[in-house]
């Protein structure tokens, strides 16, 4: 789960990392009131869960009330890379001398967290890694957290001024601790800014949480911003499905994540465009099948739906019953192509056959069929 900048800054602040003050507002009046309190100039920052907000016009420094009204009014309600901006962060503009990067991610190859710091701040760390890998210091993190001596080495790598280094050390130690304590999969300060008077501040913040750990962090789980998500994806999560919306026309309902990806790929291979990733999971609860159909039929771009079920633990007859249930309860007007094989395949064919539905058993054949049906429906 991705957190907004203001939420991430809240976590950093609570962890003892210096963060500039800020107010999250959703209208121009509140923005003006916040700016009065901080004093101009202030920065208006769109709170949406996408990168590159600055380049897309979602971040603006303003010097007075009139300019703030105009810019806050423009940013609130604008679309930023497909996401509507409902909130902006108003924060005093700092006088920056230097900008650095500090971030911690999971290093899958070494199976441990990895702290990265770079004097090239304010830009994507992936870009730095490509253009100047020597500008990144990498520190693997083990069960000890970040030992002081390694934090000091990292601070020396970033800044020549011993007074500034002294301020960076506790920030890095606390960043590593926050990553651990909150079960994050990414915690990033970019830029970590040194102001003209030598203070060190987290000017921007990004935290991604491990979805599998949210159960033990009810406070963090409550931070989920539903307005930032696709309604289908929200419904899917509530009904225990794994769904990702894409921009094609062929919906797919599959059991298992790997097979679901392979099905999308096969649709593209045979010349179609997948409308989604959807995994109904290992169990074959008919309600889940109905929920899946509800989500897919709610997407106006979907012209045909492919069921691709490999019965192992999932029983094909259960999926067939779920599909009939969905057809009874929902007004489904698009063609459906079914591919079933494995456990209780015969029973499933009988159940479907009574309703005049036919199931194929070969995956390639089914994919070609659904592409043809989608083309007819267009």
């Amino acid at each position: 789960m991705n957190l907004h900048e203001y939420q991430s800054k809240g976590i950093f602040r609570a962890a003892g990392i210096p963060v500039p003050p800020g107010d999250v507002v959703s209208n121009v009046e509140d923005a003006l009131a916040a700016a009065e309190r901080f004093g101009y100039p202030v920065v208006v920052k769109a709170q949406v869960l996408v990168g590159g907000r600055g380049k897309a016009g979602g971040v603006k420094v303003v010097r007075g009330g009139e300019e703030l009204s105009r810019e806050a009014g423009r940013i609130l309600g604008m679309e930023l890379r497909g996401l509507k901006v409902n909130r902006v962060l108003i924060t005093p503009s700092a006088e920056i001398a230097r900008e650095y990067y500090a971030g911690i991610v999971l290093d899958r190859r070494n199976e441990s967290p990895l702290l990265m710091v770079s004097p090239a701040g304010g830009i994507d760390i992936e870009e730095v890694a490509r253009a100047g890998p020597e500008k990144i210091l990498r520190i693997p993190i083990d069960g000890r957290g970040l030992p002081g001596y390694r934090a000091r080495a990292a601070a020396r790598f970033l800044d020549k001024d011993p007074a500034v280094q002294k301020r960076i050390v506790p920030i890095l130690i606390r960043l590593v601790r926050a990553y651990h304590d909150q079960d994050a999969s990414l915690a990033e300060i970019n830029p970590l800014a040194v102001t003209k008077d030598g203070l060190v501040l987290a000017l921007d913040a990004k935290i991604v949480l491990d979805d599998n750990a949210l159960d033990r962090h009810p406070d963090l789980a409550a931070m989920r911003d539903l307005s930032a998500e696709d309604p289908g994806e929200i419904e899917a999560r509530e009904r225990g499905l794994s769904y990702v919306k894409l921009d094609g026309t062929i919906g797919c309902v599959v059991n298992g994540a790997g097979l679901a990806m392979a099905t999308m790929d096969l649709i593209q291979f045979h010349g179609g465009k997948p409308a989604n990733f959807l995994d109904i999971g290992g169990s074959s609860n008919p309600d889940k099948v109905e929920a899946a159909m509800h989500i897919l039929t709610g997407d106006p771009r979907v012209r045909a739906v492919l069921f691709n079920i490999f019965g192992g633990i999932t029983r094909c007859d259960d999926v067939a019953r779920g599909l009939l249930l969905a057809l009874d309860r929902l007004n489904v007007r698009i063609p459906i192509v079914i591919r079933l094989t494995g456990t209780n395949e015969k029973e499933a064919r009988e159940i479907l056959g009574e309703r005049g539905l036919m199931a194929l058993s070969d995956m390639d054949e089914a994919v070609r069929a659904v592409i043809a049906r989608a083309a007819e429906a267009a």
């Binding site: 999971l106 899958r108 441990s112 994540a257 790997g258 995994d279 192992g312 390639d364």
Partner: protein
Amino acid sequence: MSVLVGRATKVVVQGITGRDGSFHTRGMLDYGTKVVAGVTPGKGGDKVHSVPVFDSVEEAVAKTGANCSVIYVPAALAQDAIYEAVDSGIPLVVCISEGIPVRDMVEVSAYTRGRQVRLVGPNCPGLISPGSCKVGIMPGTIVKPGKVGVVSRSGTLTYEVVWQLTRAGLGQSTCIGIGGDPIVGTRFADMLALYQQDPGTEAIVLIGEIGGSDEEDAALLIRRAISKPVVAFIAGQTAPPGKRMGHAGAIVSGGSGTAQEKMARLQEAGIPVAKTPSEIPGLIAAALRPRRKSKLKLVRAKAKKPAPATRRRGR
């Protein structure tokens, strides 16, 4: 012949009284697996499908000589279950549980490092050596004894491929799902090394997916140390960046971990990469024909010199 599990495997099921544990214990027994014990704290003395239940893994091992554990406990209890199995001296621990926090697995990884244990999973379907032993949840009906080793990060996609192999008359030595999480106990490279040593395995199918760099590491190892033919398939070519595709580990982040990148690395190592799952049996059959095999070796010899190995620790 097979790897990791076979006729000598004696299984203890952790979480045997739970819904999943009990259901899949039945499935393993039906397949002929020697399930000798179950463990659920507080339920010692019970029986599930005639299998005796103990309060601890230590007791189960002492009384039954179990040498493999399979874990079906809820995610929140899985780390503890793995620790218990490892500390009881079990050499092979298969964790089926899904949804374990990454931090728990970082800690498990640090703990098992240097210890004499092989962990398979978590978030995996387990493994099956056709005709002799099944540990986990793979359907026994789709496999057939033979010479192809199958290793995959997926569940049902593995079944799909195994079923297509079986229908084409290509039986399997051992099929294993290593799991879809960012951190898993056994990786592609570990399995390739095991298949290479196994006299009963003559060709290997590797089924990868987006996320991480396990397939790239496997490609490096194949160039260096695997002489048996390998055929690969990578799922997720159409997956958008930054979105998790069901599996916790299946995500393209910061432009790395793409299917295209993985396919390129494997092809550079001289490995045929199937464009669709249905191409796999044909590629395996071709690789098993002697003439074609030598041709494959030629391609591999011509492939670029391997980069310095970034192999993980040996186990």
